[in-house]
Amino acid sequence: MQQRNRLEPYFENLVFEREDNKMVVNFGPQHPSAHGQLRLILEMDGEQIAKAVPDIGYLHRGMEKMGENMIYNEFLPTTDRMDYIAATANNYAFALAVERLLGIEDKVPRRAKVIRTILLELNRIISHLFWLATHALDVGAMSVFLYCFREREYAMDLMEEYCGARLTHSAVRIGGVPLDLPDGWLEHLNWFLNNLPEQIKLYEGLLTENRIWRMRLEEVGVVPPEMAKSWACSGIMLRGSGIEYDIRKEEPYELYDELDFDIPVSDRCDSYGRYLLYMEEMRQSIRIIRQLIAMYKDTGPELMAHAPEYISAPKEDIMTQNYSLMEHFVLVTQGMRPPVGEVYVPTESPKGELGFFIRSEGEPYAYRMKIRAPSFWHTGILQDLLPGHYLADVVTIIGSTNIVFGEIDR
């Protein structure tokens, strides 16, 4: 016999409150433009939003708990699943945090640094293209979606050619990178970089002066600088509010202090300003990668840091030297034991400040791992940002905050 479900049928998305003439609209969690599992409880006064309560947690997987119960190398592939649009940025942020905890940051070979920085910037391009595609689609420009995804596909092909994965790369390791660039990869990358500026021009031709695009984005989602600071915004959400702070420039890591690039800033504070920044950042990433390609030629063959107590020796040593093999066995089965202490390491991911706080008690398992994901606060800001806007602008604002739910819920 079929039993009656305990979930009573009711109008899931609408609640009418007669007293104050406010309507409560339940936006998500399965809304196509909520960029994942975002549920917004919107109190509407006519078409305008009176109060917004973001509800998150639908994708919570307990990554911090997982990080505390896995050895460091084991946890690295898990970080792929946070910001799955730009997985290398997560891998790198984690690897850098552990390296700084171990104190082997300077021992990472130069070639590994070049490769990592190329991958980081390539991921930034992938992420920004994805952002533009979905944002334009949300606002109603379908064709941009297809063009952006075509270019993104070429970039993902490059990632696939390098590490074998398209989305969950795990291409960065603690202490370096596992693989050198394959033959001909830099030529392919060059082809991609030569092709991209033209395509960016194409997107801009479709959008920048487009009347509908401007009407939908201008003066929508205005984040004043004080609000951006108070909400700990980072990345383009911060620079779109006229505050020039990019961790790549201000607290340089990897090779960013040797590279020549500009940080675009906009004081328009609205979604349109942020859109302009994304386009400019893609151009700057192209510029950075071009410099890195030139740097690659002058590097030695080493790919992993030489720190025998923490990092396994190269494969040749493991296969030929008994002691290297023993150390490798211990590192794989028991894991490295970092010194007692704690670090907080911020990096500039495509979404903003991605930081790892690691507390180590000298065990192979981190005692506390806190992941500072930029999207978490960019979602929180919605409760201050949305009131006063129209329902149709909600989609634009969610799009321009560039949130990814793997990262918010972790």
Binding site: I56, G103, A232, G341, S360
Partner: protein, 262 residues
């Protein structure tokens, strides 16, 4: 006999530890002649500081828990106006305390400070939401994950876990495998406890094959028609001729011999 495992800290332990091994420490540098000298001096004038040191380029200050709002306000006035992160560390098993840390950033000076304080398990901490809006969600997350009460918070509610969830997941005493309530959460919530037997436990093994369910699984060794009665006899396949496997009845005269040279 199964070895005793402490219940207050169920975090995974290394299976081998050298008795004589002493873990090295991340160096803690003195503040006296560093860039943080003035910041520290100004806080020291107004508040009691238990310890202060520089670790990996960031100043760490350990303060009294009751001073947290005042110290953060003082630092905010000195330029540390972004609360980029805050959370807690569970030291209940060791000291019966939580350690709460606030990670501050001064954009104008490119410096980061970590302010730490400790509270007992049943104590509450004062909210810093009045200074930094970002603390709104951080404190909710801390409450959700550790069960630390925050006084004067505008909307102290669980944020990542469902509202009726039992337990606080990032405590070290929280089981790693999920308890009974967690295992049956969806069934209890939607259908009720009495349906546990009918619905059965969630099957999480991706290679799971049911021998009873003939609609979704073929029987590997004894195929049955789709959706056949699970208790029905499997179709018997005739025993093969040992000399010529895979041929039902082998007759040399009926068989054709192909080119021998192959």
């Amino acid at each position: 006999m199964r070895p005793y495992r402490p219940k207050d800290n169920v975090q995974k332990k290394s299976y081998y530890t050298d008795r004589f091994w002493v873990a090295p420490r991340v160096p803690e540098e003195p503040v006296e002649d560093g860039i943080f000298k003035e910041d520290l001096a100004s806080i020291k004038k107004a508040f009691k500081i238990k310890r202060a040191y520089i670790q990996r380029g960031q100043l760490v200050i350990i303060i009294e828990a009751k001073d947290n709002v005042d110290v953060l306000r003082h630092l905010k006035e000195r330029g540390y106006d972004v609360l980029s992160e805050m959370s807690a560390i569970d030291y209940l098993a060791k000291d019966g305390e939580f350690e709460i840390f606030y990670q501050l950033l001064a954009m104008s000076k490119r410096r980061r400070i970590r302010v730490k304080c400790r509270i007992k398990e049943n104590e509450a901490i004062e909210s810093v939401e009045c200074l930094f809006r970002s603390a709104d969600w951080s404190e909710r997350e801390m409450y959700d994950m550790f069960g630390i009460k925050v006084n004067n918070h505008p909307y102290l509610k669980r944020i990542l876990m469902p509202e009726d969830w039992v337990g606080h997941p990032l405590r070290k005493s929280y089981p790693l495998h999920g308890d009974e309530a967690a295992q049956w959460y969806e069934v209890d919530k939607i259908f009720g406890k009495e349906y546990r037997d009918i619905i059965g436990p969630e099957q999480r093994d991706p290679a799971y094959v049911s021998t009873k369910d003939t609609c979704n699984f073929a029987r590997i060794t004894h195929p049955v028609p789709k959706c056949a009665d699970p208790n029905s006899e499997p179709e018997r396949i005739e025993v093969f001729n040992d000399d010529a496997p895979l041929v039902e009845t082998f007759d040399l005269k009926k068989s054709k011999i192909v080119d021998k040279t192959r």
